[in-house]
Symmetry: C2
Subunit: 237 residues, 2 copies
Protein backbone atom coordinates (compact mmCIF):
# COMPACT_ATOMS: atom_id res chain seq x y z
CA UNK A 1 0.00 0.00 0.00
CA UNK A 2 1.48 3.39 -0.87
CA UNK A 3 2.72 5.24 2.15
CA UNK A 4 3.10 2.09 4.19
CA UNK A 5 6.28 0.12 4.41
CA UNK A 6 5.77 -3.56 4.48
CA UNK A 7 8.80 -5.75 5.02
CA UNK A 8 9.75 -7.04 1.60
CA UNK A 9 12.66 -9.28 0.69
CA UNK A 10 15.65 -7.51 -0.82
CA UNK A 11 18.05 -8.57 -3.52
CA UNK A 12 21.49 -7.01 -3.63
CA UNK A 13 22.40 -7.27 -7.29
CA UNK A 14 23.81 -5.61 -10.37
CA UNK A 15 21.48 -5.16 -13.36
CA UNK A 16 23.78 -6.83 -15.89
CA UNK A 17 25.30 -9.41 -13.56
CA UNK A 18 24.20 -12.76 -15.06
CA UNK A 19 24.15 -14.46 -11.65
CA UNK A 20 21.92 -11.73 -10.23
CA UNK A 21 19.64 -12.08 -13.23
CA UNK A 22 19.32 -15.81 -12.59
CA UNK A 23 17.84 -15.08 -9.16
CA UNK A 24 15.70 -12.17 -10.41
CA UNK A 25 14.17 -14.50 -13.01
CA UNK A 26 13.72 -17.28 -10.46
CA UNK A 27 11.97 -14.92 -8.03
CA UNK A 28 9.74 -13.82 -10.90
CA UNK A 29 8.83 -17.44 -11.59
CA UNK A 30 8.07 -17.99 -7.89
CA UNK A 31 5.98 -14.80 -7.87
CA UNK A 32 8.06 -13.20 -5.11
CA UNK A 33 8.21 -9.40 -5.13
CA UNK A 34 11.59 -8.13 -4.13
CA UNK A 35 13.25 -4.78 -3.57
CA UNK A 36 16.28 -4.52 -5.82
CA UNK A 37 19.33 -2.83 -4.33
CA UNK A 38 22.26 -2.15 -6.61
CA UNK A 39 25.62 -3.13 -5.14
CA UNK A 40 29.08 -2.61 -6.60
CA UNK A 41 31.05 -5.45 -4.97
CA UNK A 42 34.37 -3.87 -5.95
CA UNK A 43 33.63 -1.02 -3.54
CA UNK A 44 33.97 -3.64 -0.76
CA UNK A 45 31.37 -1.86 1.34
CA UNK A 46 31.69 -3.14 4.89
CA UNK A 47 27.97 -3.81 5.44
CA UNK A 48 27.94 -5.82 2.22
CA UNK A 49 31.00 -7.87 3.19
CA UNK A 50 29.28 -8.72 6.45
CA UNK A 51 26.35 -10.14 4.46
CA UNK A 52 28.63 -12.04 2.12
CA UNK A 53 32.35 -12.22 2.96
CA UNK A 54 33.01 -13.71 -0.49
CA UNK A 55 31.70 -10.42 -1.95
CA UNK A 56 29.78 -12.20 -4.70
CA UNK A 57 26.37 -11.26 -6.09
CA UNK A 58 23.50 -11.67 -5.65
CA UNK A 59 22.59 -11.66 -1.94
CA UNK A 60 18.97 -12.27 -1.00
CA UNK A 61 17.62 -10.90 2.29
CA UNK A 62 14.47 -12.58 3.49
CA UNK A 63 11.77 -10.31 4.94
CA UNK A 64 12.69 -11.57 8.43
CA UNK A 65 16.34 -10.59 7.85
CA UNK A 66 17.73 -14.04 7.01
CA UNK A 67 20.67 -13.51 4.64
CA UNK A 68 21.23 -15.86 1.72
CA UNK A 69 24.48 -15.18 -0.17
CA UNK A 70 25.37 -16.34 -3.68
CA UNK A 71 23.30 -17.50 -6.64
CA UNK A 72 23.61 -21.23 -5.99
CA UNK A 73 22.79 -20.95 -2.30
CA UNK A 74 19.78 -18.72 -3.03
CA UNK A 75 18.47 -21.16 -5.65
CA UNK A 76 18.62 -24.08 -3.20
CA UNK A 77 17.04 -21.96 -0.46
CA UNK A 78 14.16 -20.86 -2.69
CA UNK A 79 13.56 -24.44 -3.79
CA UNK A 80 13.47 -25.66 -0.21
CA UNK A 81 11.17 -22.93 1.02
CA UNK A 82 8.95 -22.25 -2.03
CA UNK A 83 9.56 -25.17 -4.39
CA UNK A 84 6.94 -27.55 -3.01
CA UNK A 85 4.21 -24.89 -3.41
CA UNK A 86 4.80 -24.85 -7.17
CA UNK A 87 3.95 -28.58 -7.40
CA UNK A 88 4.35 -29.66 -11.01
CA UNK A 89 6.00 -26.35 -11.89
CA UNK A 90 8.77 -26.76 -9.32
CA UNK A 91 12.01 -25.40 -10.79
CA UNK A 92 14.03 -28.19 -9.19
CA UNK A 93 11.88 -31.25 -9.89
CA UNK A 94 11.48 -33.94 -7.27
CA UNK A 95 12.84 -37.11 -8.87
CA UNK A 96 16.50 -37.76 -8.02
CA UNK A 97 17.61 -38.14 -11.65
CA UNK A 98 15.85 -34.89 -12.62
CA UNK A 99 17.47 -32.99 -9.75
CA UNK A 100 20.89 -34.23 -10.86
CA UNK A 101 20.32 -33.11 -14.45
CA UNK A 102 18.97 -29.70 -13.44
CA UNK A 103 21.86 -29.10 -11.03
CA UNK A 104 24.38 -30.31 -13.62
CA UNK A 105 23.06 -27.78 -16.13
CA UNK A 106 22.88 -25.03 -13.52
CA UNK A 107 26.56 -25.60 -12.86
CA UNK A 108 27.19 -25.63 -16.62
CA UNK A 109 25.65 -22.18 -17.03
CA UNK A 110 26.40 -20.53 -13.69
CA UNK A 111 29.99 -21.77 -13.46
CA UNK A 112 31.25 -22.72 -16.92
CA UNK A 113 29.31 -20.34 -19.19
CA UNK A 114 29.86 -17.57 -16.67
CA UNK A 115 33.62 -18.21 -16.55
CA UNK A 116 34.02 -18.63 -20.30
CA UNK A 117 31.52 -16.14 -21.71
CA UNK A 118 29.24 -13.90 -19.69
CA UNK A 119 31.62 -13.09 -16.84
CA UNK A 120 34.37 -11.80 -19.14
CA UNK A 121 31.89 -9.96 -21.43
CA UNK A 122 30.13 -8.12 -18.61
CA UNK A 123 33.36 -7.61 -16.69
CA UNK A 124 35.29 -6.16 -19.60
CA UNK A 125 32.54 -4.20 -21.30
CA UNK A 126 30.47 -2.92 -18.35
CA UNK A 127 32.05 -3.35 -14.92
CA UNK A 128 35.49 -2.05 -15.87
CA UNK A 129 33.91 1.26 -16.91
CA UNK A 130 32.65 1.77 -13.40
CA UNK A 131 35.77 0.83 -11.51
CA UNK A 132 38.62 3.10 -10.61
CA UNK A 133 42.06 2.11 -11.80
CA UNK A 134 42.87 0.78 -8.31
CA UNK A 135 39.71 -1.35 -8.39
CA UNK A 136 40.76 -2.94 -11.67
CA UNK A 137 39.06 -0.52 -14.03
CA UNK A 138 40.42 0.55 -17.39
CA UNK A 139 39.99 -0.21 -21.08
CA UNK A 140 38.46 -3.57 -21.96
CA UNK A 141 40.81 -6.48 -22.60
CA UNK A 142 40.03 -7.22 -26.24
CA UNK A 143 41.66 -10.67 -26.06
CA UNK A 144 39.27 -11.69 -23.26
CA UNK A 145 36.30 -10.38 -25.24
CA UNK A 146 37.40 -12.22 -28.36
CA UNK A 147 37.80 -15.47 -26.43
CA UNK A 148 34.32 -15.09 -24.89
CA UNK A 149 32.79 -14.47 -28.31
CA UNK A 150 34.46 -17.60 -29.65
CA UNK A 151 33.34 -19.66 -26.64
CA UNK A 152 29.70 -18.63 -26.85
CA UNK A 153 29.31 -20.51 -30.14
CA UNK A 154 29.85 -23.93 -28.65
CA UNK A 155 27.55 -23.10 -25.75
CA UNK A 156 24.79 -22.20 -28.23
CA UNK A 157 25.44 -25.45 -30.04
CA UNK A 158 25.21 -27.33 -26.76
CA UNK A 159 21.85 -25.71 -26.02
CA UNK A 160 20.71 -26.66 -29.51
CA UNK A 161 21.91 -30.22 -28.97
CA UNK A 162 20.01 -30.52 -25.69
CA UNK A 163 16.86 -29.28 -27.43
CA UNK A 164 17.04 -31.94 -30.13
CA UNK A 165 14.98 -34.26 -28.00
CA UNK A 166 13.82 -32.03 -25.18
CA UNK A 167 11.33 -29.18 -25.01
CA UNK A 168 13.28 -27.49 -22.25
CA UNK A 169 16.95 -27.75 -21.38
CA UNK A 170 16.65 -30.38 -18.66
CA UNK A 171 13.63 -32.28 -20.00
CA UNK A 172 9.95 -31.79 -20.65
CA UNK A 173 9.36 -28.75 -18.48
CA UNK A 174 10.84 -25.45 -17.41
CA UNK A 175 13.44 -25.74 -14.64
CA UNK A 176 16.27 -23.80 -13.05
CA UNK A 177 18.40 -25.00 -15.99
CA UNK A 178 16.41 -22.83 -18.41
CA UNK A 179 16.38 -19.91 -16.00
CA UNK A 180 20.15 -20.14 -15.48
CA UNK A 181 20.92 -20.38 -19.19
CA UNK A 182 18.53 -17.58 -20.20
CA UNK A 183 19.92 -15.29 -17.49
CA UNK A 184 23.47 -15.81 -18.71
CA UNK A 185 22.52 -15.30 -22.33
CA UNK A 186 20.47 -12.19 -21.58
CA UNK A 187 23.49 -10.26 -20.35
CA UNK A 188 25.51 -11.21 -23.42
CA UNK A 189 22.48 -10.38 -25.58
CA UNK A 190 22.24 -6.85 -24.20
CA UNK A 191 25.78 -6.37 -25.46
CA UNK A 192 24.89 -7.79 -28.87
CA UNK A 193 27.24 -10.72 -28.40
CA UNK A 194 24.96 -13.70 -28.99
CA UNK A 195 25.25 -15.02 -32.57
CA UNK A 196 21.69 -16.33 -32.71
CA UNK A 197 22.04 -17.33 -36.37
CA UNK A 198 24.37 -20.12 -35.18
CA UNK A 199 21.56 -22.22 -33.76
CA UNK A 200 17.89 -21.96 -34.65
CA UNK A 201 16.68 -24.26 -31.84
CA UNK A 202 18.53 -22.22 -29.21
CA UNK A 203 17.02 -19.05 -30.66
CA UNK A 204 13.46 -20.45 -30.56
CA UNK A 205 13.92 -21.59 -26.97
CA UNK A 206 15.27 -18.17 -25.96
CA UNK A 207 12.30 -16.45 -27.64
CA UNK A 208 10.03 -18.63 -25.48
CA UNK A 209 11.97 -17.64 -22.35
CA UNK A 210 11.91 -13.95 -23.29
CA UNK A 211 8.13 -13.96 -23.57
CA UNK A 212 7.67 -15.09 -19.96
CA UNK A 213 6.40 -12.41 -17.54
CA UNK A 214 9.43 -13.04 -15.30
CA UNK A 215 11.63 -11.73 -18.12
CA UNK A 216 9.96 -8.30 -18.45
CA UNK A 217 12.04 -6.44 -15.84
CA UNK A 218 15.24 -7.88 -17.34
CA UNK A 219 14.29 -6.63 -20.80
CA UNK A 220 13.59 -3.16 -19.39
CA UNK A 221 17.11 -2.80 -17.93
CA UNK A 222 19.14 -0.15 -19.67
CA UNK A 223 22.45 1.52 -19.06
CA UNK A 224 23.20 5.16 -19.75
CA UNK A 225 25.73 5.52 -22.51
CA UNK A 226 25.41 1.90 -23.60
CA UNK A 227 22.04 1.15 -25.16
CA UNK A 228 21.06 -2.50 -25.69
CA UNK A 229 21.48 -4.32 -28.98
CA UNK A 230 18.48 -3.28 -31.14
CA UNK A 231 16.69 -6.65 -30.87
CA UNK A 232 17.40 -7.07 -27.12
CA UNK A 233 13.84 -6.51 -25.89
CA UNK A 234 12.20 -7.68 -29.10
CA UNK A 235 10.25 -10.91 -28.68
CA UNK A 236 10.56 -11.60 -32.44
CA UNK A 237 14.27 -11.22 -33.01
CA UNK B 1 33.56 -61.55 -1.33
CA UNK B 2 36.69 -62.29 -3.36
CA UNK B 3 35.91 -63.74 -6.75
CA UNK B 4 32.43 -62.33 -6.77
CA UNK B 5 31.57 -58.98 -8.24
CA UNK B 6 29.00 -57.06 -6.34
CA UNK B 7 27.74 -53.82 -7.81
CA UNK B 8 29.49 -51.06 -5.92
CA UNK B 9 29.29 -47.34 -6.55
CA UNK B 10 32.21 -45.86 -8.45
CA UNK B 11 33.95 -42.54 -8.14
CA UNK B 12 35.86 -41.17 -11.10
CA UNK B 13 38.47 -39.00 -9.48
CA UNK B 14 42.09 -37.92 -9.28
CA UNK B 15 43.96 -38.61 -6.03
CA UNK B 16 45.14 -35.02 -5.49
CA UNK B 17 42.11 -33.28 -6.97
CA UNK B 18 40.67 -31.31 -4.01
CA UNK B 19 37.12 -31.58 -5.34
CA UNK B 20 37.43 -35.36 -5.66
CA UNK B 21 38.80 -35.51 -2.13
CA UNK B 22 35.77 -33.61 -0.85
CA UNK B 23 33.50 -36.38 -2.12
CA UNK B 24 35.85 -39.18 -1.00
CA UNK B 25 35.78 -37.74 2.52
CA UNK B 26 32.00 -37.24 2.41
CA UNK B 27 31.48 -40.85 1.28
CA UNK B 28 33.74 -41.94 4.14
CA UNK B 29 31.59 -39.99 6.59
CA UNK B 30 28.45 -41.59 5.13
CA UNK B 31 30.09 -45.03 5.37
CA UNK B 32 29.70 -45.71 1.64
CA UNK B 33 32.28 -48.01 0.07
CA UNK B 34 33.20 -46.93 -3.38
CA UNK B 35 35.43 -48.16 -6.17
CA UNK B 36 37.89 -45.41 -7.08
CA UNK B 37 38.66 -45.01 -10.78
CA UNK B 38 41.39 -42.59 -11.75
CA UNK B 39 40.45 -40.29 -14.62
CA UNK B 40 42.62 -37.75 -16.40
CA UNK B 41 40.03 -35.27 -17.66
CA UNK B 42 42.51 -33.66 -20.03
CA UNK B 43 42.57 -36.90 -22.05
CA UNK B 44 38.95 -36.08 -22.94
CA UNK B 45 38.04 -39.76 -23.02
CA UNK B 46 34.76 -40.11 -24.88
CA UNK B 47 33.08 -42.36 -22.31
CA UNK B 48 33.98 -39.87 -19.60
CA UNK B 49 32.63 -36.90 -21.54
CA UNK B 50 29.36 -38.78 -21.94
CA UNK B 51 29.15 -39.05 -18.14
CA UNK B 52 30.05 -35.42 -17.64
CA UNK B 53 30.20 -33.14 -20.69
CA UNK B 54 31.78 -30.42 -18.53
CA UNK B 55 34.72 -32.83 -18.00
CA UNK B 56 35.02 -31.92 -14.32
CA UNK B 57 35.85 -34.27 -11.46
CA UNK B 58 34.61 -36.10 -9.53
CA UNK B 59 31.80 -38.14 -11.09
CA UNK B 60 29.91 -40.56 -8.87
CA UNK B 61 28.20 -43.59 -10.39
CA UNK B 62 25.51 -45.13 -8.24
CA UNK B 63 25.39 -48.94 -8.09
CA UNK B 64 22.30 -48.86 -10.32
CA UNK B 65 24.19 -46.80 -12.92
CA UNK B 66 22.79 -43.36 -12.05
CA UNK B 67 25.48 -40.81 -12.94
CA UNK B 68 26.10 -37.81 -10.69
CA UNK B 69 28.62 -35.34 -12.13
CA UNK B 70 30.51 -32.65 -10.22
CA UNK B 71 31.35 -32.17 -6.53
CA UNK B 72 28.46 -29.84 -5.71
CA UNK B 73 25.85 -32.00 -7.44
CA UNK B 74 27.19 -35.14 -5.74
CA UNK B 75 27.10 -33.47 -2.32
CA UNK B 76 23.44 -32.46 -2.75
CA UNK B 77 22.58 -35.92 -4.08
CA UNK B 78 24.23 -37.68 -1.15
CA UNK B 79 22.47 -35.41 1.31
CA UNK B 80 19.10 -36.07 -0.30
CA UNK B 81 19.55 -39.83 -0.45
CA UNK B 82 21.66 -40.57 2.66
CA UNK B 83 21.50 -37.41 4.76
CA UNK B 84 18.32 -38.17 6.71
CA UNK B 85 19.77 -41.54 7.84
CA UNK B 86 22.58 -39.73 9.66
CA UNK B 87 20.05 -37.85 11.83
CA UNK B 88 21.98 -35.49 14.13
CA UNK B 89 25.19 -36.14 12.20
CA UNK B 90 23.72 -35.01 8.87
CA UNK B 91 26.42 -33.14 6.94
CA UNK B 92 23.88 -30.63 5.64
CA UNK B 93 21.83 -29.86 8.75
CA UNK B 94 18.08 -29.44 8.49
CA UNK B 95 17.39 -25.90 9.73
CA UNK B 96 17.20 -23.35 6.88
CA UNK B 97 19.77 -20.97 8.40
CA UNK B 98 22.22 -23.84 8.96
CA UNK B 99 21.84 -25.06 5.40
CA UNK B 100 22.56 -21.56 4.12
CA UNK B 101 25.71 -21.27 6.22
CA UNK B 102 26.98 -24.72 5.25
CA UNK B 103 26.34 -24.10 1.56
CA UNK B 104 27.95 -20.63 1.77
CA UNK B 105 31.11 -22.15 3.22
CA UNK B 106 31.08 -25.02 0.74
CA UNK B 107 31.05 -22.45 -2.04
CA UNK B 108 33.83 -20.57 -0.24
CA UNK B 109 36.09 -23.62 -0.24
CA UNK B 110 35.00 -25.45 -3.38
CA UNK B 111 34.82 -22.34 -5.58
CA UNK B 112 36.92 -19.57 -4.05
CA UNK B 113 39.68 -21.49 -2.25
CA UNK B 114 39.88 -23.87 -5.20
CA UNK B 115 40.22 -20.99 -7.69
CA UNK B 116 42.68 -19.00 -5.58
CA UNK B 117 44.77 -21.71 -3.93
CA UNK B 118 44.33 -25.44 -4.38
CA UNK B 119 43.40 -25.46 -8.08
CA UNK B 120 46.52 -23.54 -9.15
CA UNK B 121 48.80 -25.48 -6.75
CA UNK B 122 47.66 -28.92 -7.88
CA UNK B 123 47.36 -27.82 -11.50
CA UNK B 124 50.83 -26.31 -11.69
CA UNK B 125 52.73 -28.75 -9.50
CA UNK B 126 51.04 -32.07 -10.27
CA UNK B 127 48.69 -32.09 -13.26
CA UNK B 128 51.01 -30.24 -15.63
CA UNK B 129 53.62 -33.00 -15.19
CA UNK B 130 51.18 -35.53 -16.56
CA UNK B 131 49.93 -33.56 -19.52
CA UNK B 132 51.46 -33.43 -22.96
CA UNK B 133 52.42 -30.04 -24.30
CA UNK B 134 49.25 -30.00 -26.42
CA UNK B 135 47.16 -30.74 -23.33
CA UNK B 136 48.66 -27.77 -21.51
CA UNK B 137 51.57 -29.53 -19.84
CA UNK B 138 54.96 -27.99 -19.22
CA UNK B 139 56.94 -26.37 -16.45
CA UNK B 140 54.96 -24.91 -13.54
CA UNK B 141 53.99 -21.25 -13.70
CA UNK B 142 55.88 -19.89 -10.69
CA UNK B 143 53.80 -16.70 -10.65
CA UNK B 144 50.61 -18.73 -10.21
CA UNK B 145 52.20 -20.78 -7.43
CA UNK B 146 53.44 -17.67 -5.66
CA UNK B 147 49.96 -16.09 -5.83
CA UNK B 148 48.35 -19.25 -4.44
CA UNK B 149 50.84 -19.35 -1.57
CA UNK B 150 50.05 -15.74 -0.75
CA UNK B 151 46.30 -16.34 -0.95
CA UNK B 152 46.31 -19.36 1.36
CA UNK B 153 47.28 -17.16 4.30
CA UNK B 154 44.06 -15.21 4.37
CA UNK B 155 42.06 -18.40 3.95
CA UNK B 156 43.78 -19.86 7.02
CA UNK B 157 43.02 -16.66 8.90
CA UNK B 158 39.39 -16.90 7.83
CA UNK B 159 39.20 -20.47 9.15
CA UNK B 160 40.76 -19.29 12.40
CA UNK B 161 38.27 -16.43 12.59
CA UNK B 162 35.32 -18.80 12.10
CA UNK B 163 36.67 -21.02 14.89
CA UNK B 164 36.82 -18.17 17.39
CA UNK B 165 33.29 -18.90 18.46
CA UNK B 166 32.53 -22.17 16.76
CA UNK B 167 33.76 -25.72 17.32
CA UNK B 168 33.39 -26.54 13.65
CA UNK B 169 33.44 -24.25 10.64
CA UNK B 170 29.69 -23.83 10.26
CA UNK B 171 28.68 -24.13 13.90
CA UNK B 172 28.61 -26.67 16.69
CA UNK B 173 28.98 -29.83 14.67
CA UNK B 174 30.79 -31.35 11.72
CA UNK B 175 29.24 -30.47 8.35
CA UNK B 176 30.06 -30.41 4.66
CA UNK B 177 31.81 -27.09 5.36
CA UNK B 178 34.52 -28.87 7.36
CA UNK B 179 34.77 -31.67 4.83
CA UNK B 180 35.10 -29.20 1.94
CA UNK B 181 37.75 -27.10 3.70
CA UNK B 182 39.78 -30.08 4.89
CA UNK B 183 39.73 -31.65 1.44
CA UNK B 184 41.04 -28.45 -0.15
CA UNK B 185 43.73 -28.03 2.47
CA UNK B 186 44.81 -31.66 2.27
CA UNK B 187 45.92 -31.32 -1.35
CA UNK B 188 47.92 -28.20 -0.56
CA UNK B 189 49.32 -29.91 2.54
CA UNK B 190 50.65 -32.86 0.51
CA UNK B 191 52.66 -30.30 -1.43
CA UNK B 192 53.92 -28.68 1.79
CA UNK B 193 52.14 -25.43 0.96
CA UNK B 194 50.05 -24.84 4.08
CA UNK B 195 51.75 -22.42 6.51
CA UNK B 196 50.17 -23.94 9.62
CA UNK B 197 52.15 -21.65 11.91
CA UNK B 198 49.99 -18.78 10.64
CA UNK B 199 46.94 -19.88 12.60
CA UNK B 200 46.89 -22.17 15.60
CA UNK B 201 43.09 -22.60 15.68
CA UNK B 202 43.03 -23.66 12.04
CA UNK B 203 45.83 -26.13 12.74
CA UNK B 204 44.02 -27.66 15.73
CA UNK B 205 40.84 -28.02 13.72
CA UNK B 206 42.71 -29.67 10.84
CA UNK B 207 44.39 -32.10 13.28
CA UNK B 208 40.88 -33.08 14.44
CA UNK B 209 39.78 -33.61 10.82
CA UNK B 210 42.90 -35.63 10.00
CA UNK B 211 42.23 -38.05 12.83
CA UNK B 212 38.82 -39.04 11.46
CA UNK B 213 38.62 -42.50 9.89
CA UNK B 214 37.31 -40.94 6.66
CA UNK B 215 40.69 -39.21 6.28
CA UNK B 216 42.83 -42.37 6.34
CA UNK B 217 42.71 -43.17 2.60
CA UNK B 218 43.53 -39.54 1.78
CA UNK B 219 46.60 -39.63 4.03
CA UNK B 220 47.76 -42.83 2.34
CA UNK B 221 47.76 -41.28 -1.15
CA UNK B 222 51.23 -40.93 -2.58
CA UNK B 223 52.67 -40.01 -5.90
CA UNK B 224 55.78 -41.55 -7.43
CA UNK B 225 58.55 -39.01 -7.74
CA UNK B 226 56.81 -36.51 -5.46
CA UNK B 227 56.64 -37.69 -1.86
CA UNK B 228 54.35 -35.83 0.55
CA UNK B 229 55.54 -33.13 2.90
CA UNK B 230 57.09 -34.95 5.91
CA UNK B 231 54.22 -34.13 8.30
CA UNK B 232 51.46 -34.84 5.73
CA UNK B 233 50.16 -38.05 7.30
CA UNK B 234 51.26 -37.17 10.82
CA UNK B 235 48.35 -36.61 13.20
CA UNK B 236 50.61 -34.50 15.46
CA UNK B 237 52.13 -32.02 13.06
Amino acid sequence: MPGETEAMPQLFHRPFCPLSRFIRLALGEYGVDVELVEERPWDRREAFLLMNPAATLPVYIEDDGLTVPGAGVVAEYLDETLGPSLCERRLLPEAAADRIEVRRLCSWFLDKFYAEVSGPLVGEKIDKRMMTFAQGGGPPDMMAIRAAKANIKYHLQYIGWLLRDRNWLAGDRLTYADVAAAAQLSSADYLGDVPWHEDEAAKQWYAKMKSRPSFRPILADAMAGMPPAPYYANLDF
